[in-house]
Each structure stands twice: as structure tokens, then as C-alpha cells.
Amino acid sequence: MSSTGQTVKSILTSPVHPEVNYLNATKGFASWFFTLDHKRIGIMYMCSILTAFFLGGVFAMLIRTELFTPGQLMFTSDQYNRVFTLHGAIMVFLVLIPGIPAALGNFVLPLMLGAKDVAFPRLNLLSYHLYVIGLVMALLVLGLGGIDTGWTFYTPYSIQTQTPVVLITSAAFILGFSSIFTGLNFIVTIHKMRPPSMTWFKMPLLLWALYSTALIQIVATPVLGITLLLLIVERVMHIGIFNPALGGDPVLFQHFFWFYSHPAVYIMILPAMGVISELVSTFSRKHIFGYRFIAYSSIAIAIFSFIVWGHHMFTSGQSNLMNMVFSALTFSVSIPSAVKMFNWLTTMYKGSINLATPMIYTLSFMFIFAIAGLTGLPLATLATDIHLHDTYFVVAHFHYTMMGSTLFAFVAGIHYWWPKMTGRMYNQKVARFAAWLVSIGFNVTFFSQFPLGSLGMPRRYHLYEAMPDWQIYHQISTIGAYMQMIGFLLAAYALISSLSKGKLAPRNPWGGATLEWETSTPPITFNFEDTPDAGDPYDVESWQWSDEEGGYVKVRPSVVDEDHAE
């Protein structure tokens, strides 16, 4: 926050804290639950997703606690299997997939476009209601004793088990529609509602990421939907599709399942990369480096994501030729990911780096994503994957990707947009401490699982009495999990207590140059009094720090910098 001593004058004339904003415009449960306002839907999504995250987190802690000892501690094997299945299913379908697009995307996307709302507000509300139905069904499954198939529902075990598979797959089916509707909405909104001055290559990179994500959501999700429907048909009507006892093929299920679920990994990680692209630029006070390559790499990842699913099946018995092709194609994903990493890094070069809470999470994201991406290499490589497949090495790798990367970006985004969402600043000291605790705890938890896996510990094991040497890795992992738990609770405390005790937030506390910072804090119901002019979304120098405001003020229109233009 470089104070120049001079008074800086804002060129924006709208009030910073209007009497009436989207939070207090109308009151009552129905005014929220049946609202068409994308911001309120975004907030409701965020609360629901964080509730699901809490639930999934409780299961995570139960798993880690149980594994502290090689033998049975609290659960029988049957109970343990239900706990890890619910942890996976809740985290994937209710937290990570909707996470950034539905919560942050809903709030931010129209604001970034200078638009009043998404293209189809009613569809947006329906998407949220479907999510709630999915959440309630998941809770119902929990009430019925849970399921024990693993979140992947592999046949024929998912046909044999007596747990309520039909109910949980119906929930996933409904959640799929929720996801499709969000994607559809975003695609149309981005195509049709950009302000006249915003060309495709003047869009913030988060919008490129959300657009790429939306493509995957609407193309891949129907495949999961129909696969789960086929599974239900097989269970209920005993028609042989995947069950070999009825003439079906269990490996076919894996193909169908991963045809969605691999792209789903990119539904999680692409918007996360988008969030990081915004934050790195803002907190380094620098224009993003290599805008076009980052934008193209999002599209490239979306396309490549569809042709690599077979790398989940190197040991499934699919042919050597298929394995060879899928291994080669899988490496293609590593290139656009590397491009993003290097471009973020170069963005920081010669910047003025502000280590506020969102930036701490951003830097941990980069640390974690580097490990996540690099440990993907031995898993894409055929010879080494045969050894590592279905061991804790894979567990560690996908937690680095799905939790350490996606979830950290989600949390970074919440901390970044929180002042705009709620109008309040949270306690930086507490939140920053929490961020360090979560980051260190995360690495303690999951790094120890890499050697554990490469030494041979299979995943989804309740007992490991036969291998006492493995206990130390599990114990380190469990200690890390408790660190994370304390960190997350502390972060939640910092955010929630800001609602009553927090300072009033300025228009732009961090100095981001995208359009959402030009509106009031919190925004008015229709977002902007006048449609804002879109310039270069990374012209961060158009905003300067003002001591008087306690935040950044816009000193000139953002323009494309001719000297350094693309």
C-alpha cells in the first residue's frame, strides 16, 4: 500500500456505501431462497457448499483418526468403508465441482462483465434448488447408514452391495443437472452480455476459465448422468450392462465413469486457475504476464481433458495399445499447466507483492499445484503407474490437485471477494495465521502419503496391521489433518466475526482492476448505476492507494498500455 502522501482523487462518482444494497434491499427467508439475484444465489451457494465442506471435513477427520493406528480404533471395516465413501462423494459432488463456479462464479461473473445479472436468472435459481435437493438426498443417504462403494461406484460391487446406491447416484444425477444449468448460463452470459468495449481478449482470465469449465460441464456431465442411470436400471431391473453375471462388462462402466470424471477434475481446477490468475496480478500490482497464452491454455486444457480418461485404467485390463495412446495424450495436459505456472511466476517479477491473506493462499496454491502437477508425471508414465496405481501415491496426488489446488483457490477467492460480498473487512492477522496453518497442515498431511504410496500401501485400506512400518507415515498425516482442521476453523472464525466486528470495507481493498471493484461495497441489487467502461482488466495502475479511503481508488480509465501491449 504505497502511500504517496498526496490526495488521490477517484474518477468514480457513484457512492461507495449506498443506503440500499443487495443484502438489505429486501428481507425474509423467501426474499433469499426464491431470489433471482445472482449475488444472493452465489452467497447461498457458498453457504451450502461450505456446509457440505464441513460435513466432508468431519468424515476426513474420522478417516485420519481411524488410520492413526494400524488396527481397529473406532470403526469396523464396514463402517470405515462408508466413512471414506461419504467423504469422497460429498467432497467431489457437493464441494469441489460446484465450488468455484457456482459460489464465486455466480457472484463475480456478471459483475466482471458489468452486467446486471446472468443471462437466465430463473435457470440459475433452479440450479441452486437442484443443488439443495442433491444435498438433502446426500444427507438422507447418511441417515440410512451411508454407502460403501467408494465415490467411484465401480461395478459390479455397486450392484452387489445392499447400501442405498440408487439414492446416492440419483443425488449425483440431480447435482449433474445443477452443474449443467450453471455452465449453460455462463456460456450464454459470456457470449451475449459482455459490454460493447469488452472483446474476448479483454475479458478477465477468470471468465476464460469459467467459460472453459462451462464447456466441460455441459458436454461431459450428461455422460455421467446416463451412466448412473444405467447403473440404477441394472440394480433395479437386473438388465445386464455392467454386471458380468448378467452378461455385462464392468470395464465399460469405468470407461463411462471416467469419460466424465476425468474432465470433472478440470471442472474443479480450471476455475481455480482462473482465480489465481486474477489474484497474482492484483497482489503483485502487475499486469498479468502472457494473457493470451493463459487464455488459450484454459481452452486447451478443456479440450485435452476429454481424451485422457483412460489413464485411470492402466491396470484395468484394457489393451496395451490403448494404454500407450492414453499415456501419450495424458502428457499433453502437462504443457498448458506448465504455461500457467511460468506465467504467474513471471507476473510476480519486479512487482510489489502484498502478502495479504488471499495472496498467502495463492502462493500456497502455486507451491501445492507445482507438486500436484509434477507428481502427475510418474502417474502418466506407464511403467511407474503400474506400481503406483491405487496406492496412497495417487491419494496424495489427487488431494494435492483437488484439495490443495482447487480448494485453496476457492478459499483464496472467498477471502479476496469477501469485502465486496459482505461489505466488511476481516481481521488480517487471524486470517493470515489461519492461512499459514492450513497450508503447512496440508503439506504435512499429504506429502507423507507420497512415500507411503510408493512403498506400496494400497488406498481404501482400513487395516494395515501386516505392515507396521507404515504407521509413522499415517501418524504424520493425521497430525497434519488436525493442523488443517484448526486452521480452517480459525479462518471461519475470522470471516464470520467480521460480519459483526469487521471494519467497513472500501470500494477496492486490494487494487484489482476488474469491473467488480468499480461498483459499491456491497453492490447494489442491479450491480452498477451506469454500465462501466471495460478497458484492460489488468491495468492495475489505474487504481491507486488512498489513505483517506483505506483502499484503492480509480484515478484514470483503464487503458490498453500501448508500450507493453500484446
Binding site: 468403508n81 493470451r292 512487482g351 511403467a383
Partner: protein
């Protein structure tokens, strides 16, 4: 440079045939392990290099350009094509190299030599069993009720010999994994999958199931014993010539190796997954659909060959069929074993079943000698023949 030395010495270590456990990888005990580990360490050092590069720069930038030290950001170009192409093309070249090494190692892992020694593997919830070319069987529970190891449960293979396992599953997906051999292959119901290896070091190694298969997935363990050719042959002969044992002893043996032990208690009269065998014989059983049947020889036989025909009320119909896998004499022995567990059977009958037949007499253990062929195919043919025979009896 330290980095280069570390790389070289770690690659050297990886290439050493049969080295012991390191921080990252278990002991090497097969011919495949060296190639896999070479790929692993090449990738490992590439990972370390890039991680140190990326995080070193990040850390340096955060320290050098922190706003306390560097309050004003400097203008730098927004893009630089040669630089951006370099971090596309260099990683691309590296991943092509990685792919190639991985592919080569994989071809070795999945191309069994034509004359490899064949052993059949049957996986079921939650046991492994192994059928040798001479018809001998091992498998089942590794530890008995007294906590004693059961050596006949293990898979035995000869040292320095190409061995191919032809695997099938009786129920759900399983996966066969020996970390020290660096081999893993899913076992899929309804098709055969193969895994091969050439074990280089005598010793005992763990076998894990790595595909989640239900309740006792984490207990679906076994061991592989690598031994010299003469020792292995002696073991095979022992497996084949188990007789003379009493029918009850043979029944208990089959009860273990066919995996009945995983679901049916024989000691404490408790329910594991299926009904207990204690005091079962001679009782009345309520079956799904409301009928009551006698728990007798016919019910046991039918339950083994067609488990879904009459499901014991209160239990899930999860038992796989053993039709085509088990021979009539083996069923008879299991029935004998179940009889000896029941108080409904007169003591003198039970005593007779526990009698070891005279050597040279018609021992039920002879059942194992039916197949005298020495390949898996002829063992399978033997199974089929006995299946046909049992069909005739019905």
C-alpha cells in the same frame, strides 16, 4: 555440481540389480523392478529440478519484491514469445523422453515370455487362491484361529523363472499387487487377465488387493514365497499328495482354500457375512420366499453350486457360485467337515469322519490327483469334466 552428483548416484542406485528398500521404493525382487525404478528416478529428478526452479524463483520474488522493500511495481513487458515458447517446448521434449522410458518399461511388464510357467489365480471376496499346473491348490486364510501362520495359504513360485499368472475373479473387481515385483493387474469377473514376473530373490513378499472390493478389502492379503526350483517342486508334490487325511481334515483344508472361511464361522457361532457352520448341519433353515428347508447334504451342495437358489433368510445373496471350480469329492469333504461341527450329528458319525483312511485305501485326498496334466489348461479341463460328472448325478 551437487545436483548432478545426486542424480547420478540415485540413478546408479536404481540400476543396481536387486537393491534393498529406499526412502521412495520397496526392495527390488523381480527383473521388472530395475526398469520401473529407472523411469521413476529419471522422473523424480526432473520433478525435483522443476520444483526447485519454480519455488526458488517464487521465494526469491516474494523476498525481493515484497511491497515493504519494493513499494512500487516496475513496468515489464506483458508478454515475451521466445520465453513463453521455451516453457512450452522444453517441457514438451522432456515429457516425450519420460513417455518413451515409461512405455519401454511397460512393454516389458506386459509381455510374458511364451514359455512362462503358468499358475491360475482365483480372486474372491476376500481371499486369493492359486491353482498349480499339477492340480495342487493353495490359498485362503494366511493365519488360523490360533494366530498360527498357515503356510499352505501362500503362493509359491520358483526363483529366476518366468511365471505368468492367469487370473479370474468370482465376484467383483480385485487387483493383484506385489510391490517388490512392481507388478499390478486388475482381476476382472467375466474375463482373464494376466500378470507375469521373474522373481530374482528368494524370500517372502506381500500380495495386496488394490481394487476396492467391499467389506474386508484391507484383509485381502496373501504372500508369495520365492524358492529354488527343487524346493518349489518338493512343495508342489506335497500339495498334490496331501493324502491320506481324514475327510474332515480335507474338508477344513478346502474350506480354507476355496475362501469359505472369509464369510462362514466355524468356531464361535457368530455371523461374519454368511451363516455360521457351527451346529448348522441337521437344523432347519428359513429361506427367502418363506420356505423352510433341512440343512442337509443336498442343501450344502446346492448352496455351493447355485448359491442364489435358496438364500438363508436374513442374509444378503452375495456368495459366488463354485460351479466348475469345485469337484464332487471336495464338496463331500466340506460336507464332512461341516458335519463334524454340529451337535445335531451323532458322535460316532463325527468320529468316523475324523478317521484317517489306511494308506493305499481309497482316500478322499485322492480327489486332488484327478488331474495329472501339467498345465493350467488341463487343470481347467479336469474341472470341466468333473462339472459334467456332477451334472450327470443330478
Amino acid at each position: 555440481m551437487n545436483f548432478a552428483t545426486a542424480t547420478a548416484s540415485s540413478l546408479h542406485l536404481a540400476l543396481q540389480e536387486g537393491r534393498g528398500q529406499t526412502f521412495w521404493l520397496p526392495e527390488q525382487a523381480s527383473t521388472a523392478a530395475g526398469g520401473v525404478d529407472l523411469s521413476f528416478y529419471i522422473i523424480y529428478w526432473i520433478m525435483v529440478f522443476f520444483f526447485v526452479l519454480l519455488m526458488g524463483l517464487t521465494f526469491w520474488f516474494v523476498v525481493k519484491y515484497h511491497k515493504g522493500i519494493h513499494p512500487k511495481a516496475e513496468h515489464t513487458p506483458h508478454h515475451n514469445l521466445p520465453m513463453e515458447l521455451s516453457w512450452i517446448l522444453i517441457p514438451l521434449a522432456l515429457v516425450i523422453v519420460i513417455f518413451w522410458y515409461g512405455f519401454k518399461g511397460y512393454m516389458h511388464l506386459t509381455s510374458p515370455p511364451a514359455n512362462a510357467y503358468q499358475i491360475r489365480v482365483e480372486a474372491q471376496q476376500w481371499t486369493w487362491s492359486f491353482v498349480y499346473p499339477n492340480g495342487g491348490r493353495s490359498g485362503g486364510k494366511m493365519v488360523d484361529d490360533q494366530g498360527q501362520a498357515v503356510p499352505e495359504a501362500y503362493l509359491h513360485v520358483p526363483e529366476n523363472t518366468d511365471v505368468v499368472l492367469i487370473m479370474e475373479s468370482k465376484d467383483v473387481l480385485h487387483s493383484f499387487y506385489i510391490p517388490q515385483f512392481r507388478v499390478k493387474q486388475d482381476v476382472v469377473p467375466g474375463r482373464y487377465t494376466k500378470v507375469w514376473f521373474k522373481a530374482t530373490k528368494a524370500g517372502t513378499y506381500d500380495i495386496f488387493c488394490t481394487e476396492y472390493c467391499g467389506k474386508d478389502h484391507s484383509s485381502m492379503l496373501n504372500k508369495v514365497v520365492v524358492q529354488s526350483q527343487p524346493e518349489f517342486e518338493a512343495y508342489l508334490t506335497k500339495l498334490k499328495d496331501r493324502s491320506p487325511y481324514s475327510p474332515a481334515e480335507n474338508g477344513e483344508y478346502y474350506y480354507n482354500i476355496f475362501g469359505c472361511v472369509q464369510c462362514h464361522d466355524t468356531k464361535d457361532k457368530v455371523t461374519i457375512t454368511g451363516p455360521t457352520f457351527v451346529d448348522a448341519f441337521g437344523s432347519k433353515v428359513n429361506v427367502d420366499g418363506g420356505a423352510t428347508v433341512d440343512m442337509d447334504e443336498n442343501y450344502i451342495r446346492e448352496s455351493i453350486l447355485d448359491p442364489m437358489a435358496k438364500i438363508h433368510s436374513g442374509f444378503q445373496g452375495v456368495m459366488p457360485t463354485f460351479k466348475g471350480k469345485i469337484k464332487d469329492d471336495q464338496i463331500n469333504d466340506i460336507i464332512a467337515f461341516i458335519k463334524t461341527l454340529s451337535s445335531n450329528v451323532p458322535e460316532d458319525v463325527k468320529e468316523a469322519l475324523r478317521q484317517t483312511p489306511e494308506p493305499g485305501g481309497e482316500a478322499s485326498g485322492e480327489a486332488m490327483n484327478v488331474d495329472d496334466g501339467n498345465s493350467a489348461e488341463s487343470a481347467a479341463a479336469g474341472d470341466a469334466a468333473s462339472d459334467a460328472a456332477s451334472g450327470n448325478q443330478e
